[in-house]
Symmetry: C3
Subunit: 341 residues, 3 copies
């Protein structure tokens, strides 16, 4: 049960409700069975819904006290007696959808809180809430049902679509964003790109005249930095998810539904296709092209273009096969040397 | 002498006062000798206290003009004539304690400053100060003698113990913290974990229903991110110290007194024992177990469980011995190749 | 053309004006030709100024519709007919200077905005603007024409020179800064260094009694952290440029005009000479000396002193020559192994 200090649960829902929400079929159990919460298998109690997605938890499943469980058909035989079963090929997705039903986004109070600073020329859509200490600049436009959290800053002229969220202390400038964009606390969108011309004994800053364009459903983690373009724009495609402390430099163009794990850095003017996945702390050189569906390992250093569909890792990055060959070859070499000496 | 613009010195203290505070013995000098400040050996002047902890500074020690010095017994012979000597096996610890006496935490003004926004249902302990621009949400509870610095955000329902500090622009949500917890500027505690279920052509966010639990005496550096749990909690044990720009993902559990240096990343659901040390820019994979007392080198990539007491480094991480063997083997191989060609 | 929602263009300027501003010579074209904006070669339209700095764009140059172009003398032959030509050995520098003329820093409104909190003992220079939600502490001194952006925090006693900028939500404490210093959004200057003395079963924090000293023309990226010194100061020399999410620990001393790319980490008490360049995600151990003009590769781990003028890369860092020999030797070894088995 989620801590009632922080989370307000909706429901209850019936087994049939959850089946519909989660896109699952009732394989066992009373469609009218009431379910009042979600919980992990190991801690779920009577009246709660759980899920089995990873075989590693088969034992927890067979011992779980959950009243109902989302599960793939091949695992139903391990269910304890009396547990209602909702069968789906994607139990984790089903769980995510059910959990959204139990825990809808809290409808913050709407309107401009005392202590918020909204410029008179800014426009707020219906149902949009601006919390204490938040600042919304001249000419900014925020769509319907937006939430600008405490001490966030929305710069002059910024446009956010409907259902957007700007977290505590985050800032967004020089940016046009789609719908359902979420910027978590401390994210920095639209700061100056790192562009300098070598001058006589000094670095001359080059005015950064582009923007940041965020597609629909883009999620940006805490303390992430996405710089605006130098002239062209920095573009993040629909449905990209970006973890905490990632850096994306000016002029980078990222396709749709990419997954960028924490502390990754992408250098200027590099382009990514759709569905690229980059593991934590990976780094990409500037001015390179990474194709659709490429997977880049954690900590990898990608210095050159990567064709669509490839998996690369290592420093510098090579194919997965080559990488593990190198790791093993070096391990063997070191052992042999150890013996020789 | 610390810059009086920023630091206010207490004292003076006598040599005997400092001996008691630092847990040291007077090996030489008048117990009534007045000491008015602390300073490094090389720049200390008359009336100031210094310390020798590292043999590399033996020469500075023997030439220092400090009036008194904290020193281990084996180094007293190198002291200049006339210097009062406080002997202790741990001079650096003694210095830390003495420096706290000379520079106690500034007692900020107490109460809620003009321009702070404290929800009427929030509760503040005795002597707690909330600075201009800070926001404290509904139902939050902050213990005694707390300091919430300018533009910090304490979310609804958050509970902080006594003597806690939340730095400028930091934010803390969905969190229960012990006593003497310090969150430096820009730290982001309790944001959404990075949890998504693969859906039909999109990533479906999984509601993150856990909390962040911080033990007593936890110190969190600037711009760190610690995500709340997905269902279980994210837990940081008593006395952990975490440097700047570290990322700690959802469901991570960290034992007591761990030391996590800057820019480390710890992936989801990984557990650490007590007294683990992780060097700067290290990375840990998800769902692994790191035992008590493990030491992980800077930049290491830890992909598997590490038994208690081991030291690992490298990418991927191996034992220290194996790591250096590999470095040397590769160096030799490259030199040989160079010669052959 | 930059988005008028965010950028206000100055001008127009004549070809002769731009030649003077950019330090270029008119090689072709009417000195009175009016120019109304800057743009990349590929998208420039009539009336716009562009530049050619990189041979890779020679084709764009020869097909560009820009009315005028900054170009090196050796490339003028590729210019399309009718394009006015401004010749200079450094076209990118010329572009930067011209772009500053077209897009001068927006003269924010001056004075203290409603909702800003400036302590009565703080002093603001002529023309300095403090935006909504910004907090300026007791005794702080900000020079002329400064801009303190929304929700930024300038701590007590801090001194900033003329023409300084503190970005949205950034914070600066215990700091003395020169002129023309820019701290982008979320930068954290002057937080506690990571200094602890091992005590009896706990880490005892060591009071950090130094400052951060920033030279003239220092630029600090978004969400960067620069800790104040432990006793000595942390010092960043004139003209250094620091990209996003960099960490600089206490007591570090950096010379002039260094270039530090995103996500670099520099450990405590390390010193850098002038004109050092560090690639993205590089890491430097503590207490080492890096000479003038050293170049450190992206992701490198520098564990020892580096003499002036050297280039090092790798983990651990070695000379460039040695690094590539190692990469190739390992690649060959892995291929051979693959064949042998």
């Amino acid at each position: 049960m989620a801590d009632r200090r922080f989370f307000k649960v909706a429901g209850p829902f019936t087994l049939a409700d959850i089946a519909a929400i989660a896109g699952a079929e009732i394989a066992r159990g009373d469609p009218g069975l009431p379910l009042c919460d979600v919980a992990p298998l190991a801690t779920a109690a009577e009246g709660e819904l759980s899920f089995l997605d990873n075989r590693a938890y088969l034992r927890d499943f067979s011992e779980s006290r959950a009243s109902a469980c989302l599960v793939a058909s091949q695992h139903v035989d391990h269910a304890p007696a009396g547990m209602a079963l909702l069968v789906t090929p994607r139990p984790y997705l089903g769980y995510a959808l059910a959990a959204h039903a139990f825990y809808p986004e809290r409808s913050a109070e709407t309107g401009v809180a005392t202590g918020a600073h909204v410029h008179p020329t800014a426009r707020l859509g219906e149902g949009t809430a601006v919390a204490a200490g938040a600042v919304v600049g001249a000419g900014a436009e925020i769509g319907a049902r937006g939430r600008i959290d405490a001490n966030a800053v929305v710069g002059p002229g910024v446009r956010l679509g409907d259902d957007c969220y700007v977290g505590a202390g985050a800032s967004v400038r020089y940016c046009l964003a789609g719908h359902r964009v979420r910027l978590l606390a401390g994210a920095r969108i639209g700061e100056d790109g790192f562009g300098y011309a070598p001058g006589e004994g000094r670095h001359v800053r080059v005015p950064q005249l582009g923007r940041v364009i965020l597609g629909d459903d883009v999620e940006v983690g805490a303390n992430v930095t996405i710089d605006r373009g130098a002239g062209p724009d920095t573009v993040i495609g629909d449905g990209c998810i970006i973890d905490n402390l990632v850096h994306i430099a000016h002029n980078v163009r990222i396709g749709r539904r990419c997954v960028i794990v924490a502390q990754v850095g992408i250098s200027g003017s590099t382009t990514l296709g759709d569905n690229v996945v980059i593991g934590g702390q990976g780094g990409l050189a500037g001015h390179i092209k990474v194709g659709d569906g490429v997977r880049i390992g954690g900590k990898a250093a990608v210095l050159h273009d990567v064709p669509p569909g490839e998996t690369v890792l290592g420093i510098p990055a090579v194919s997965r096969q080559q990488y593990w060959r190198q790791v093993i070859a070096l391990r063997n070499l070191a052992s042999k040397k150890g013996k020789d000496e």
